[in-house]
Amino acid sequence: MPVQKQVRMVADLNKCLGCHTCTMACKTMWTDRNKGQMHMYWNNVETRPGKGYPKDWETQGGWFNTKDKNSILLASINEGYGTPWEYNYDQVLKTNGGDASESVSESVLTPSPRPSGNAYASNWDEDVGEGTFPNSYYFYLPRICNHCSDPPCVDACPRQAVYKRKEDGIVLVDQKRCRGYRYCIKGCPYKKIYYNPEEKISQKCIFCYPRIEQHKGNLCATQCVGRIHHVGFADDTASGAYKLVNIWKVALRLHPEFKTEPNVFYIPPLSPPVYSPQLTEDQRIPVEVLANLFGDTSDQTHDQRVERIKEIFRIIRTEREKVAKGERSELIDILIPHSEADRIKV
C-alpha cells in the first residue's frame, strides 16, 4: 500500500555554507547521548568532489544493483565512518585540580586513537576539492536519509523491522524489532543507516518525526542558517519544495540511477567561471562531474543529465537577470524565502 503523504526536502546547494549547523543540530538532538552513536551523522555534509561519508559510499553498492546480498561489504566504523575520537582532557587540562605529586604530565591534547596511516573521518577531506589552482573547485553536499519512495532497506530486512510511515512517508527502523543484522545498511546505496555496536541495532535519520507530528520542521532544515532547505509534502502544490521540483524543475535527485526514488532533492551548484582574462561562462565545476551525481530519473542517460543541469543553470541565470532588472520572478522569490514558514510547510 502506498503512503498517503510523502515528506520531501529540497536543498539549494547555491546557498549551502558548508557550516555543518545541520549536522550539529541533528547530532545534539538524536545521537549524542547514547553509547554507540558517536560515529553516526544522520545528517552529514561532505565536500565534493571527495570520498564522502562513509568513505567511498557511492561505490559500496546497495540492494538495487546486486543479487548477492553478501557481496556487499560493510564499512568498518573507524576506517569507513571515522573514529569518534576521545581526548585526554583530564590529563592535559587538569581541571580536577591536578596532583602535585604526579610526575608524568601530559601536555598535548591528542585524539585517541591517533589518526594515522589510512585515517579517515566523516569530514576528512573538507575543502580539499579538485582541479588545479586557480581553477580549483569544490562544493558542499548535505545528506540525510532520502526517505525513498522505493526504499531498498525495507526489502532488505529479514525481520521486517524497517518500514515507511503511512502519514508522512518517513522511513524508520523499528528499534525494538531490529536485531542488528545490517542487511538494511547493505541495501541502502546511500549508506544512510548506521549500526550501533553497543546496542547492536541499526539506527537512522527519523526526519525528526516527533517534530513533524507537531508541524515543526526537521532540525537540519529549521536550524540551517544558510536557509537552504525547502520542506513540504509531495502533493502540497503550495509548498516551495513542490514548486522547485515539479513546476520550475530546478531540483534533481542524487544518484537517481540507484532506482530508489529519493525524496531529497538538490539544486545543483553554480560555480565561478574558469579563470581567464575573458572570463567565459564556463563554470569551473565540470558539468560532467555534476551529472555523475544528479539527475531526474533512473532511466536518464548521462548526456540527458548534462543537458538538464545546463538547462537548470540557464533558468537560474535568466531569472536572476530578470530580478536584477527590477522584474519579479516566482523562482527567485522561492529561493529567497523571507521566513521559516515560507520554506518549511509541514
Binding site: 555554507l17 550539529m24 587540562l93 588545479t132 510511515r165 528499534q175 565561478p272 536584477a324
Partner: protein, 932 residues
C-alpha cells in the same frame, strides 16, 4: 568545606543525565514488547508495530527552555533557545524570533552556527573549570591545588595591594576581549580597574582587527552596515573576507543577494569557501590587494568613472595643498588670525581660494558648500602671509600618484590579469550601489592602513559611501557595540578620562623585548627592501617620540627610562596568551616579569594553564548579561537558564568579590593620574563604589543600568529582551548614521544625507594625511602600495585566518567539533609545494622560521596556490606537540600607527593605536619525524 554535590565531576553528572534519558528510552522499548516475528504484510504504509515510536518522542521531551546567547568574539550575537530536562541543558536551537526589518528583506532567522549548537559541551565537559585553583608547580607545568574562593581572592588582593604600594597602580594590568560580546562581564573587570587605578588594555588594535585606514580616512574606529544591507547591494566585492566561514549567520544575505541578481566578486589568494558562491573569483597574490585597489582606482580616475559631485562634497579631493611642502594650505598661513584647522577649496566661479565649511576649526558644521564650485584639478597661486605659494588639489596629486598603477604594472604585482582589473573596476564604478566587504585577509598585514585607504578610495570615488547598499564595510572581530554610553558609565564610573588605557600592541612589544630582536633583524636587513628596511630611523626612536610627545601611553610610566615593568595581569573572558602575536617572546620575556597572572574563565585554556590563579566563571547558560554586534541591530540578553554550575560565579560577582577582598585590606593611596590630577583611592569603600551603594549588586541590575543609560535601548528592560530581542531605537554619536524604522542600518548616512562633517581634520573623507611622518619619512600622505614585508629567507607565506570550526580558541578543543575535522591541527599546502618537499597528506610536519616552530599535520588541497600555507587560527597551544599557532609570528609595529597630535590621529582606546598584524609572516615546512 562542603564538597559532594558542588564538586562532583561535571562530566559524570552529564553522563548520568544521559543515562537517565537512555533508561527512559529503554523502558519504552521493553514495555512495548510484542511478538516481533509476526509477519508484516505492508511495511510500506501499514506497519503494525509502531508503539516503539514513543522512544524518540520521549527524547524530544523537555521540562522548560530559556533564552541566551554566547559571549564569544564572533559578531554573531545570536539568540539561542536552550531546552532543559531534569535540570540539564540538553539541546540548543536558534530562537529565530528576531522581528523583521521590513518584508522585502530576508530575515535574520535562524541565527546561529554549529558552534552555538554545541556550547553545552563546555557547560558539562571536562574543559570546565570547577573551582578556584592556585598553582603549585612551575608555570605551565599543570600542578594545581583547589582553593576556596576566600583564599584565592585574598591571595590576589594581597598581591594587588603589594604591587600598587611597591610599584604603582599602573603595574596592575587588566585584559579582556571586547565589551560587545558580554557588556556586563566586561564592565565587571574594567570597573574594578577604574576604581583601583589599574590599566585597561585595548584589544581591537592588538588583534589587528582595527582597520587603521578608517580612523585615518573617516575619523571613526569603524562603522559598517548590518548584514541585511548587503541584500541592498547590486555589486559586492568580497575582499580578503570569508563570510561563509567567519560570518556564518550572516552569509545567507550574500548568497541571497546573489540570487537576487547582485554580482558577487571574491578576491582572495586562495579558493576559499566564499569563492565557491561567487560570480567571479579573482586570485590575488597574498598581500598585494592594495595594488589591485589602486589599479582599479587608476581605471576609475583615468576613464572618468568617478562621481564628481560626490568627491567635491564629501572628500578632501578638492582641498588645496601647497606644492612646496606638501602640506594643506591652512588659514593660519593666509590671514593673520587664521586657524590651523581651516582649509581651502579653489572656487571656479569666483576664481579664488575659499574656506571649506565643516573642517575641524570651522564653526560652520556642515558639508553643504552652497554656491562654491570646487575645482578638482589644477594648480593655483595663493597670496599667503609669507608670500605667493603654489597650490594644487588633492585630486591632482592623487591622479599623479596613480600613474604608477596602470593595469599592466598592477598585473605584474598582483598576478591578476590586466583585462580583468579593468573589467571589475568598470563594473564596480558603473553598478550602484556597490560595496566592498573587507575582512581579516586584507587587514592583518603590516600595511593594513594603506590597504584600507586604497579600498575606501574606490568606494568614495564611486560615491558609494553613505548610501544604502554601498560602501566599504569591514568585518573583522567585533567592532562597535550598541549601548556604549551605558556601558561606559558602568565600566568606568570615575569617567573615561580618569582611566589608564593601554594600546596593547605597544605594551606587549616593549615588555616582551621584541624591539631587541626586531631591531637586530632591522640592522641585518638594511639594504634588503623586503626585509626590515622599513624605517628611516630605528623603531625605538619612533616609540620614544610617540610616548614622549604623549601620542601613545605606555604603562607603567617610566618604562622607557627606568625599565619599569608590569607586575600583575588579570585576564577574563579572553585567551590572551594563546592568541598573542609573538607568543614565544611573550612567554619568554613578558611572562617572567609578572608576579601574578590570574585567568578567569569557564573553561581551562592556554592562558589558564600558564597562569598562577584560575577563577571559575559562569557559563553562558548561567547569568544575566547583554550582547550586541554591528552585524545586526538587535540587542540580545543572556539569562540564567540553569544555576551556576559547581563553584563558578558570574564575572560581575567575581570582580565584586575581589573588590570585597581588596576592601578587607583597608589599603589607601593617593594616585596621580596621567593628566596630572590626583585621586585618593580608599579601598575600604570599594564594595559600595563597585555596587553603586548596593544598587548594582546583581548582574541583572548591572545589565538594566546599561539599558537605562543608553539611547539605543530607551525604555527597554532585561525582561522585555528575554521575551524577544528588540531592535535598537536610536544611535549615539559613535555611529555615523541614524537608526531608521524599516531600514537596515548602513554607515555614513549623517555625512551623506544630513551633510554632517566627519571627525577628521578636514571634516571630510580624508585621503591626504599631511602629518610630518607620513609626508617626510614614509611618503604615505596618499594611499600607495607597499609590498608585504618579511624577507625571502623562508619561501612560504603563512596565513592564519579565522575558520568555521572555532571562534578563536573556543571550540578548538571541543570533541564534537574536532570529530568533524581531522581531530588535530592541520596546515594546508598546494599539491606541488607538498610534492617538492616530498610530503604526503596527513604527514606530521614542522612549520618554522626564526621566531618559532609548530608541529601539525598536513592537508594537501588545490584550494591553495603555490607559495602559500594556511592554518586556521585559534588552536590551543596544548593541541600542538610543539609551539602554538602564533609561534612563527612576531609583533611588528608600523611607526605611522604610533603617530598622534593630528586631527583624527589621536590615541583613543581601540580607535587608534598600532596593530598587532601577523600576515607578513613567512615559514618553511618540512617533514617532522616523530620520536615515540
Amino acid at each position: 568545606m562542603a564538597v559532594g554535590a558542588s564538586t562532583e565531576n561535571l562530566a559524570a553528572r552529564h553522563e548520568r543525565a544521559r543515562a537517565l534519558l537512555e533508561r527512559g528510552a529503554q523502558a519504552a522499548k521493553h514495555t512495548l514488547a510484542l511478538d516481533l516475528l509476526e509477519r508484516v504484510h505492508e511495511p510500506i504504509g501499514e506497519y503494525p508495530y509502531r508503539g516503539w515510536e514513543t522512544l524518540y518522542r520521549e527524547q524530544w521531551k523537555y521540562d522548560s527552555f530559556g533564552r541566551t546567547t554566547h559571549s564569544i568574539n564572533c559578531t554573531g550575537s545570536c539568540a539561542w533557545k536552550v531546552y532543559v530536562r531534569n535540570n540539564i541543558a540538553f539541546k540548543e536551537e536558534q530562537y529565530a524570533d528576531y522581528p523583521d526589518i521590513n518584508p522585502t528583506l530576508p530575515t535574520y532567522n535562524p541565527r546561529g552556527c554549529q558552534k552555538g549548537a554545541n556550547y553545552k559541551e563546555y557547560v558539562y565537559g571536562p574543559q570546565r573549570v570547577k573551582y578556584p585553583l592556585i598553582r603549585t608547580g612551575e608555570r605551565g607545568e599543570g600542578k594545581w591545588r583547589k582553593a576556596s574562593w576566600g583564599e584565592a581572592l585574598s591571595y590576589i588582593a594581597d598581591k594587588i595591594v603589594s604591587a600598587i604600594s611597591n610599584y604603582g597602580p599602573d603595574t596592575v594590568t587588566f585584559y579582556s576581549a571586547n565589551p560587545a560580546k558580554f557588556l556586563v562581564s566586561y564592565a565587571a573587570g574594567a570597573r574594578l580597574a577604574n576604581l583601583i587605578g589599574g590599566v585597561v588594555c585595548s584589544f581591537y588594535d592588538w588583534v589587528s582587527d582595527l582597520p587603521p585606514g578608517e580612523p585615518m580616512t573617516w575619523g571613526v574606529q569603524t562603522d559598517s552596515c548590518e548584514a541585511a544591507d548587503w541584500f541592498n547591494s547590486k555589486y559586492i566585492i568580497i575582499w580578503g573576507s570569508n563570510v561563509l566561514e567567519t560570518r556564518i549567520p550572516d552569509a545567507h544575505f550574500v548568497t541571497e543577494a546573489r540570487m537576487h541578481g547582485t554580482k558577487i566578486i571574491a578576491i582572495s589568494p586562495e579558493y576559499n569557501p566564499v569563492a565557491i558562491h561567487a560570480d567571479i573569483f579573482i586570485p590575488v597574490k597574498p598581500g598585494t590587494d592594495g595594488a589591485l585597489a589602486l589599479g582599479m582606482a587608476y581605471i576609475i580616475v583615468n576613464e572618468k568613472l568617478y562621481d564628481e559631485n560626490y568627491l567635491k562634497s564629501f572628500t578632501d579631493m578638492p582641498m588645496l595643498v601647497r606644492t612646496d611642502n606638501g602640506k594643506f594650505l591652512r588659514e593660519s598661513e593666509v590671514v593673520s588670525d587664521g586657524k590651523a584647522g581651516n582649509f581651502y577649496f579653489w572656487d571656479k566661479s569666483s576664481g579664488k581660494a575659499v574656506l571649506a565649511p565643516g573642517t575641524i576649526d570651522c564653526p560652520d558644521k556642515t558639508l553643504d558648500t552652497g554656491a562654491i564650485d570646487q575645482a578638482l584639478f589644477g594648480t593655483f597661486i595663493i597670496d599667503t602671509l609669507s608670500g605667493k605659494v603654489e597650490v594644487t588639489t588633492v585630486f591632482s596629486l592623487l591622479k599623479k600618484k596613480l600613474k604608477d598603477y596602470d593595469p599592466a604594472s598592477v598585473s605584474d604585482i598582483t598576478g591578476v590579469d590586466a583585462a580583468l582589473i579593468t573589467r571589475i573596476a568598470g563594473e564596480f564604478a558603473n553598478t550602484k550601489p556597490a560595496r566592498i566587504i573587507a575582512g581579516a585577509g586584507v587587514n592583518h598585514y603590516y600595511h593594513n592602513d594603506l590597504i584600507n585607504r586604497s579600498m575606501i578610495l574606490l568606494a568614495a570615488l564611486t560615491g558609494n559611501v553613505g548610501i544604502p547598499g554601498g560602501g566599504f564595510d569591514h568585518y573583522v572581530g567585533q567592532e562597535k557595540y550598541w549601548c556604549e554610553e551605558g556601558f561606559l558609565k558602568l565600566a568606568y564610573p570615575l569617567g573615561n578620562i580618569k582611566q589608564r588605557f593601554q594600546p596593547t600592541t605597544l605594551w606587549a612589544y616593549v615588555h616582551s623585548e621584541i624591539e631587541k630582536i626586531e631591531g637586530k633583524k632591522e640592522r641585518e636587513g638594511k639594504g634588503d627592501p623586503e626585509n626590515h628596511d622599513l624605517w628611516p630611523r630605528p623603531i625605538s626612536e619612533y616609540i620614544r617620540e610617540s610616548v614622549d610627545r604623549g601620542w601613545m601611553p605606555l604603562y607603567p610610566e617610566g618604562t622607557l627610562d627606568s625599565g619599569k615593568t608590569p607586575r600583575i595581569l588579570l585576564v577574563w573572558g579572553a585567551n590572551f596568551l594563546n592568541q598573542a602575536k609573538g607568543a614565544e617572546y611573550i612567554l619568554a620575556n613578558l611572562w617572567s616579569k609578572l608576579d601574578l597572572i590570574v585567568d578567569t574563565d569557564f573553561r581551562m585554556n592556554t592562558t589558564g594553564l600558564y597562569a598562577d590563579v584560575i577563577l571559575p566563571s559562569s557559563s553562558m547558560f548561567e547569568k544575566w548579561d547583554l550582547s550586541t554586534t554591528d552585524l545586526h541591530s538587535y540587542i540580545s540578553p543572556f539569562t540564567p537558564i540553569i544555576s551556576p554550575q559547581l563553584e563558578s560565579k558570574t564575572d560581575w560577582q567575581i570582580f565584586l568579590e575581589l573588590a570585597r577582598a581588596l576592601a578587607g585590606t583597608k589599603f589607601s593611596f593617593t594616585d596621580t593620574l596621567p593628566d596630572g590630577s590626583t585621586i585618593n583611592r580608599d579601598f575600604s569603600t570599594l564594595v559600595n563604589d563597585f555596587t553603586e551603594q548596593g544598587t548594582l549588586s546583581e548582574d541583572k541590575s548591572a545589565g538594566q543600568f546599561i539599558l537605562d543609560n543608553s539611547m539605543e535601548t530607551k525604555g527597554m528592560t532585561m525582561d522585555m529582551l528575554n521575551e524577544q530581542p528588540r531592535r535598537i531605537v536610536a544611535t549615539d554619536k559613535e555611529w555615523t548614521s541614524d537608526m531608521k524604522d524599516k531600514e537596515a542600518y548602513y554607515a555614513f548616512q549623517r555625512m551623506y544625507e544630513l551633510k554632517q562633517p566627519l571627525n577628521t581634520l578636514t571634516g571630510r573623507q580624508q585621503f591626504y594625511i599631511d602629518h610630518d611622518w607620513f609626508l617626510e619619512e614614509f611618503h604615505e600622505e596618499l594611499p600607495v602600495y607597499k609590498p608585504p614585508v618579511d624577507g625571502t629567507k623562508y619561501r612560504l607565506r603563512f596565513l592564519t585566518p579565522h575558520g568555521r570550526w572555532s571562534i578563536h580558541s573556543l571550540w578548538r578543543d571541543a570533541k564534537y567539533q574536532l570529530r568533524l575535522q581531522r581531530g588535530y591541527p592541520i596546515v594546508y599546502l598546494n599539491p606541488d609545494d607538498a610534492a617538492a618537499r616530498e610530503l604526503s597528506d596527513n604527514d606530521p610536519v614542522e612549520i618554522f622560521n626564526d621566531n618559532g616552530a609548530i608541529i601539525a599535520n598536513l592537508c594537501i588541497s588545490t584550494r591553495m596556490p603555490e607559495g602559500l600555507t594556511l592554518m586556521y587560527q585559534g588552536w590551543e597551544r596544548y593541541t600542538f606537540k610543539k609551539g602554538g599557532f602564533q609561534s612563527p609570528t612576531t609583533i611588528r609595529i608600523k611607526p605611522t600607527q604610533l603617530a598622534g597630535g593630528y586631527g583624527q590621529l589621536k590615541f583613543k582606546v581601540n580607535y587608534w593605536g598600532p596593530t598587532g598584524n601577523q600576515k607578513d609572516t613567512r615559514v618553511e615546512i618540512r617533514k617532522y619525524m616523530e620520536v615515540e
